[in-house]
Symmetry: C3
Subunit: 341 residues, 3 copies
């Protein structure tokens, strides 16, 4: 529990209203109660502001002016909400239990170097020559291969598989079922069939990254696959061998990046996107959901390629015309010529 005044002080913000009000957690505008704090960031939710039963609301200075209730005033209400949610989350988690032990069922090599306050969950495996920094929490049934290096304050959740040699920075979170450092897809075609190309590079991940559930990041073929700092990957993303992703780039779920492609910093890649191999995407690019990127992008802008949704009956009539579009264009050209003549 924190008072509104305490929250304002911790976040270095102004507040308005009852500073002694006790708050215990965060909630939505619609469902918050008297001991919860909420926020307004998306203007389309303004309609809920006057009906909210929240103890306090995080608001911009402008929005706070016309609001009668208790408010915490922030230039960026969503970031302030995130920080306060983190604060309450860590308070509530800590009162539950501290998990700083190696579970007796875990299999941990003797040739391992663990920092202070490292927890290893049940039935996890840690191989030879692994180095794990301070305050890391390894969940249940995790596998960490030989020679992996993990920074401090990392969270590796249930069932994650980190293959041999992977290097991960500080404060990285890897969600359940993610696979880091599996072989890339490298094949050469001989007369009799496919010849596998050994994948001898590793995966390097910077600080403050987040890797979603069941996401896969392949190791490099010869050189390394690299994620910068503060790269955020959602669930079920596929990152091919030798891919490089710049700092602060965010990728939504189910997107696939093929081998050797370089993605810049501060990009925002939507969900279900496909990016072919061996291209470069510059800094600051946005790719809309399910687009296919087939060539390098050199200008920071938003890009799309998906046709709009239609009722299937109408769509079928249009779809058949898409197959005749070149012909149609030529017919229009002929008409223009005929009229000119």
């Amino acid at each position: 529990m924190k008072t509104l005044a305490e929250l304002a002080q911790i976040q270095d913000l102004e507040f308005k209203g009852d500073g002694n009000l006790l708050l215990k957690s965060v909630a939505t505008l619609e469902n918050a109660t008297h001991d919860q704090i909420t926020f307004l960031a998306n203007p389309s939710y303004t309609k809920f502001l006057n009906q909210t039963k929240a103890g306090a609301v995080i608001l911009s200075a402008t929005a706070a002016e016309s609001y009668q209730g208790n408010a915490l005033i922030s230039n960026n209400p969503y970031v302030t909400f995130a920080r306060i949610a983190q604060l309450f989350h860590s308070i509530n988690e800590n009162t539950m239990k501290a998990q700083t032990e190696i579970h007796s069922s875990a299999v941990v090599s003797e040739k391992v170097k663990l920092g202070g306050f490292v927890a290893v969950g049940p039935l996890s495996f840690i191989g030879d020559d692994v180095v794990i920094g301070d305050n890391c929490v390894i969940g249940s049934q995790v596998s960490i291969g030989d020679g992996v290096k993990l920074g401090s304050d990392c969270q590796i959740k249930a069932g994650v598989k980190i293959e041999a040699g992977t290097v991960i920075g500080d404060r990285v979170i890897v969600h359940p079922g993610a696979v880091i450092g599996a072989d890339g897809f490298g094949l050469a075609r001989d007369k009799s069939g496919w010849v596998k190309i050994p994948q001898t590079g590793i995966v390097e991940i910077g600080d403050d990254c987040e890797i979603g559930a069941n996401t896969t990041i392949d190791c490099g073929a010869i050189e390394n696959t690299k994620l910068g700092n503060d790269v955020r990957l959602d669930n079920q993303i596929q990152i091919g061998h030798n891919v490089q992703i710049g700092d602060h780039t965010v990728i939504a779920g189910c997107t696939a990046v093929a081998g050797s492609t370089k993605i810049g910093k501060n990009c925002f890649i939507g969900g279900g996107v496909g990016i072919v191999g061996h291209i470069e995407i510059c800094d600051g690019v946005t790719i809309q959901a399910m687009a296919l990127v087939t060539h390098s992008i050199t200008e920071a802008d938003s890009y799309s390629s998906v046709a709009p949704l239609q009722p299937t009956k109408q769509w079928r009539r249009n779809a058949v015309r898409v197959k005749q579009l070149d012909q149609l264009t030529k017919r229009v050209k002929q008409l223009e010529k005929n009229i000119d003549d």
Copy 2:
């Protein structure tokens, strides 16, 4: 083994032909033999009916009229087939073995409440305060986090990870590698980088649901992610935080649903579909494979958005015209104007 007459009695159906015929399993029309039962539901397979060597065939009354062999007569041959297949499957499974023990290698918290006839497979982990109903079968290397509640008659297959707090109903099947309750993808952008928003909601799953292999269902950000009853998800589906899915809705493989979207009851969502966040899809909607749904749908209908497949050489000529389509439309408008003048 059951006789044709016994099967008819159990299913409360009429039969035609030799009621004493012994049947041991189900098969396809093409490959069934004298002691197997098969079915005809899809008219395009009618050609195989007169060649089948099946002991008996499940048929509609109309189809049975012109069929000379043994038949079980049903208004819905496919459903009857499903029920008979279930019957034979459970007979054959039961003769193999009953797995109702906690394997000695499993790690099960002392603070767990197990129903009757619960099996826990090798190397599985069950956390504190978990409640598991009667007749549940937990496979190998499953992880069930603290406080998870599981109804009765559930099957949780190998390697499934169910994160803390998840609530699951009765008769739910979760296939290998699925991850339920991992953090949603919630980030706020501060000047220096991304700030993680703690994901404090849970996942609630109703009765009779099926969750496919390597499918991921994120926990709610603040409130909960909810699947109704009899929701059927295929493999490698991604369900974002706070999503709600209505009863009897079916989703095919590799589809992604972004955060806070509500999908109605009795929807049929094809494979590889993308559904953006914060929209609503009403009851009874069909989405064709690989369509992108970018806005709410308020009318029960079938929807599509994907261009038809063409040989690449032809497609390239059309594809370049798609990029000029607005211009082409304007040229046509100009032609119309010229002719009118």
Copy 3:
């Protein structure tokens, strides 16, 4: 370490330059050093050839003519590179350690038949009546269900789940998190809801296949799901029940193949492709990335269906016209008629 002359002899190739040069590993043209060998296969990298510091380069006879440094001459430099990379990889791996033991934490049924030199990693589970051939390496936390048959020289990586009854050939590699033999998605609709159709077939995989990380291959509904020999699947691919895939076919990441579809030999299916159920694709077909295949393909060719990427602002203007395309075509027809009249 091998000399250039030794490598030439092992590969049965000619070389040019210093045969006594010692080489220890492979590298890229850009980054190779004096004791490394590299290759030139893609002409777009020719610019790096004259700057390379590699000890030797694998080149075609033509390219070797104008190259001054040490060269190994091959009709197929990429395949030669693959074979030499394999050679160095196995030399370097073998000097590290031989893992041919059953880890004490593994749970292995007594009713199992293991070949010679089989390794089973920590915390893995092997069920009853499993047969595993010589020289197989099973990683950590693998689950192999009852009755599974595995040929010789297979590598099953961390966290793979192979369900009961699966049959796998020789020299097959399965990458972390893959699920083989989970239930297919089979449902019949009754008035009250969905009835599950028991999935009683298995998965059969031939020799020399590779299955990517977190890929899922469903068991057959009644008959079997079948991969031929030398089928190569990348990560996060979904293969539905009863699918058949011919020899040497390669599928890139995140592609989904729906149930009962047959794909021929020597096909090349790009990433993110969707292939609907119950169709046939003939031998030698190429499908471009993210295309949707909605009907059978009877001619070996390359096929596409995705619109080209555009800046979102321009795309929106064109996208709205796609929805009016049938109408536009009719307007052009009317213009043609008017001009004819």
